[in-house]
Symmetry: C2
Subunit: 208 residues, 2 copies
């Protein structure tokens, strides 16, 4: 089945509504979702020199973002609470995503985003991650052991490297099958529409 | 008549489609548009330490922005050309906006955005600005003289100061009558809807 790729970092605020919406939109268009966890920190550091979320580094943007996120979630009927910390450390949850079989990933990912943004839980805590693993019917101990393996660590590193290579600079980012990239929850509908029917667009700006 | 405020900088890329769309959307909702030119440079410098557009300072974001802008304009049926320079100096055009009577501003503003993004003209050139003034039936020499007055210069400075004071950090930014702020072409529909029917939103994030 044709698919769109959903590249995400668990700390990212706007990735929460996107993660909760993507399956329904993709499914209505006859598409699968391929979930691609990566770590945003290394991108923000290498591309922008940032050592914190841009929403913390630039407070006036952060203040707006929280208000806008509240509006977005209200519009989508999604619960929202102030996170326990921002940004949170999503490393363990990202590795556990890759340690789970593909069929279990969507449910786990949505559970972690809900812990972060709807329940105010610390998603770096093994207990919280274990609860999310169990919610999709898997054994937390076994999945966490696999999450800590060299193979899983290498896979997450490779994802992050691939994200940089393909021009990702934020989360969520969507790729259509032809490589067209879309950034942000606001572009989810466009990404799905593009995968169904790619367009001919005259590119500009290359010589500026 | 109720209105939404449209705060804009002529150099801003996504402000081009927003400026071309706002009147139609506002009018369909029974709203006026109050045009508020300001200079984005001082905001970006004071808030983010930037001395150039963030799309130049972070090339990976710039590359995506030009592609995304092309998609947005194609979707709206708006012509788009690579600008002569990016970002352009919109100071003269911003002052001329304020020197024009309010009824002539919308036409002038759209003419300048078209010069910048659809015709590849240098909007810092007096000849180009004069052409836009004449396109709305005014005398270019008289308007430019008024644009250079201390009163007009002070009004633009005051707009920029008010933008900073109200938490603006980019262009376009829209304000509903109750002070609710929306940033970006993607939020134009939401801003209009809010002005028509404000919502109760639980704010979060204040204590992080």
């Amino acid at each position: 089945m044709a698919a769109i790729e959903f590249w995400f970092e668990f700390a990212s605020t706007y990735s929460y509504p996107a993660a909760m919406r993507v399956e329904k939109l993709a499914s209505a268009a006859g598409l699968d979702v391929v979930w691609k966890p990566f770590l945003l920190g290394p991108l923000l550091h290498s591309q922008q020199g940032l050592t914190d979320s841009p929403f913390n580094a630039v407070p006036v943007k952060g203040k707006y973002m929280w208000r806008d996120l509240a509006r977005v979630c209200a519009k989508e009927g999604l619960p929202l609470e102030t996170p326990a910390r921002f940004p949170q450390n999503g490393l363990l949850a990202a590795r556990c995503t890759l340690a789970l079989p593909e069929a279990a990933r969507a449910g786990f990912i949505k559970a972690i985003y809900s812990e972060n943004f709807a329940r105010g839980a610390l998603i770096s805590e093994p207990d919280v991650v274990a609860r999310a693993i169990e919610s999709v019917g898997h054994d937390a101990e076994a999945i966490m052991a696999r999450a800590g393996s060299d193979a899983t660590k290498a896979e997450l590193k490779a994802n992050t490297g691939e994200a940089i290579h393909r021009g990702v600079f934020g989360s969520p980012t969507f790729f259509a099958g032809d490589g067209e990239m879309f950034w942000g929850n606001d572009r989810l509908e466009d990404a799905v529409a593009w995968q169904v029917a790619p367009q001919e667009i005259m590119s500009i700006g290359g010589t500026i």
